[in-house]
Amino acid sequence: MSDRESDRRVPSAVGDGGVGLLTQADLSVPTHQIVDPDGSYDPEAVPDLSAEELCDLYRWMVTDRVFSRRMVNIQRRGELGTFGSTRGQEASIIGSAFTLEPQDWLYVGRAWTPMFMRGASMTDMIHFWRGIETAQQSFAKQNSQIAISIGSHIPLVAGLAWGMQLDDADAVATAYIGDGATSTGAAHEGINLAGALSLPALFFCQNNQYAISLNVEEQTGAKTLAQKALAYGIDAIRVDGQDVLAVYDAVQTARERVKDGNPVFVESVTYRLDAHTTSDDPTRYRDEEEVQEWEAKDPIERYRSFLQSEGLWSRIDHDSIVDDIETEFDEALATADELEERRVRELFAHVYDELPSELSRQLEAFEALLEERPEMDDYIEQRPKG
């Protein structure tokens, strides 16, 4: 066997005919971590954040947890269509979003609190899950969107990043995706485009081990999701998604590189502790034991021990943080519940900039019908509560 390119490394596996096989074993993918599960850490490695910022990280993680809890609760009461809890993923979600600047774009999968961090209200998010169209409008005002069709947003994020590149913007476009999303053709084409054109796009992949019922080991033969970046010629970071400082550090590092036109793929290794959504029954596909193992890796607990070691815990009044969030949620819910009755015209608005005549006809006929047939009310209901 003779290799034509100067090789830094002899391939590990050798085929029958002496053919060098490139395998995953040739690859070493480290997982970035700052705070050990046992709470120990190298102070040198701690990112340069102020005490206030460090406390903010805590507050946002708790916000995330409380918000998920409250949403699951009101869904159970029938006050939401459905909801996807983020419990267990708080470090992953908050550590990453904490790095983003207002001019950045954010297109998320399972990650709701980043919208609050960017200025959206909890009412907006309740509206989102209640299927009220103004929610995405509010998110859009913060350069943010939620994607429902898995992977479909990744080409959009590449396109947004391309716009930033043309515009010479000091910003990045960020896609949050799940482990499942990495298998989609849309993800592939979008990330490859970003790599080919050196677009300022950041791909933050929350590997929470499951796509509904499918474990990530069955999602792909790749041992890590981070290594998928090599297919696009972009760099990757794999990070312990239960370690908020490591996630922050990784995404901050990534963001700096991305801004300069080096797209980065970050795999955050985490776990969805709750059901996929409120309609899912996870006992059908995973063991309680596994869940327990990950409960033990609680990201908020780990971070609390760090704050204690740093002497910052005294600055935090956990109960009052929770109280504040509960109050914020109560108020947001009350506001959401007061949703004004909406007009039928809204259904026809924003399909196009101007209503085409065929659509006008449909609208007028429908309005007339509603007028003429009050019995329609027996069948249609505005569902302000989803």
């Binding site: 509904i212 059908r284 069948y379 569902r383």
Partner: protein
């Protein structure tokens, strides 16, 4: 056995897998968890992990993979979790699935079924409420079926799985669990391509399918109008004859569907009636359909759907025009 539509799907799958080793079921979350609607419940347990497989989140690979497996000689029956997630695989349908037989002059074929819940009204998120049969039935080489009753679900799905051509099987998820009826025992087949007359009548022909059948029948029943109600059941190939014969008798017609009005299946029905029975028409054919808008999110989705009063309105227009 009394069963719902989703149970009928499950029953048809069990039966098909029992009778024919070549039937293989795969898709997202169909095996271990039995499908998000439990349509594939207990298949893994009964037929094992070779024949019931959870795939990666890959609609292109599900539809394209099924096509290749069918070319090889198996009879894949795959699930797309919601019809809103079939569009990523549209190219496989257009470029491969629908063309294998044609491209190889019958040397190879793609006998397979793509099952998917479709339609609005289950309070789900965006992309979970669409009805795009109008686009799919435009593709030569594909068949498209939509059942509206548990018995038909069993019979049509059984026929679809046996069919030598690829079939898109659209399941009306809004009524997945709302109707219950006795399922015909054993090997029950309802041939593709044949509409069913659900109610005979002389005054007007009303054509609907899938989740629109219950509100259509309700509208007719409550009205006392002597309408003939046809359940189209298969969108492609379409049973033009049953519709045309009925319209020749009644002289009036209403089509009810969920999908967008423009280029919806209603337009094709009107075109075919135009071809063969125009001179029998005493009034314009009425379309009671989804609007040419996106399906509203869940808080307003009721407004989008044809409901009995809107259907009745269409019928009355057809009768009085």
């Amino acid at each position: 056995m009394q069963a719902t539509i989703v149970q009928a799907v499950n029953e048809a799958l069990h039966g098909a897998m029992e009778r024919d080793d070549r039937v293989v079921v795969f898709g997202e979350d169909v095996a271990e968890s039995g499908g998000v609607f439990r349509a594939t419940d207990e298949l893994l347990e009964e037929f094992g992990s070779d024949r019931v497989v959870d795939t990666p989140l890959s609609e292109i690979a599900i539809v394209g993979g099924a096509t290749g497996m069918a070319m090889y000689g198996y009879r894949p029956v795959v699930e797309i979790q919601f019809s809103g997630f079939l569009p990523p695989a549209f190219d496989q349908l257009v470029t491969n699935t629908s063309r294998i037989r044609w491209r190889t002059r019958g040397e190879l074929t793609a006998p397979m079924v793509v099952r998917m819940p479709y339609g609005a009204g289950v309070r789900a998120l965006e992309h979970h409420s669409e009805s795009l049969e109008g686009a799919y039935a435009h593709i030569p080489g594909l068949k498209v079926a939509v059942p509206s009753t548990p018995a038909d679900t069993k019979g049509l799905l059984t026929a679809a799985i046996r069919d030598p051509d690829p079939v898109l099987f659209m399941e009306p998820k809004r009524i997945y669990r709302s109707i219950r009826e006795e399922l015909p025992e054993g090997d029950h087949e309802v041939p593709l391509g044949e509409a069913a007359v659900r109610r005979e009548g002389d005054a007007v022909t009303v054509v609907a399918w899938g989740a629109m059948m219950p509100p259509t029948l309700e509208a007719v029943d409550d009205s006392g109008i002597d309408a003939e109600v046809i359940d189209l059941r298969t969108i492609s190939p379409m049973d033009t004859e049953t519709v045309v014969e009925s319209v020749k008798k009644t002289g009036r017609c209403v089509v009810v569907h969920e999908g967008p009005r423009t280029l919806g299946v209603g337009s094709e029905l009107i075109a075919r009636i135009n071809d063969e029975a125009l001179m029998y028409l005493e009034a314009p054919i009425e379309r009671v359909t989804g609007f040419d808008t996106q399906v509203p999110l869940l808080s307003m989705e009721d407004f989008y759907l044809p409901h009995p009063p809107r259907i009745l309105d269409g019928i009355e227009r057809a009768l009085t025009a």
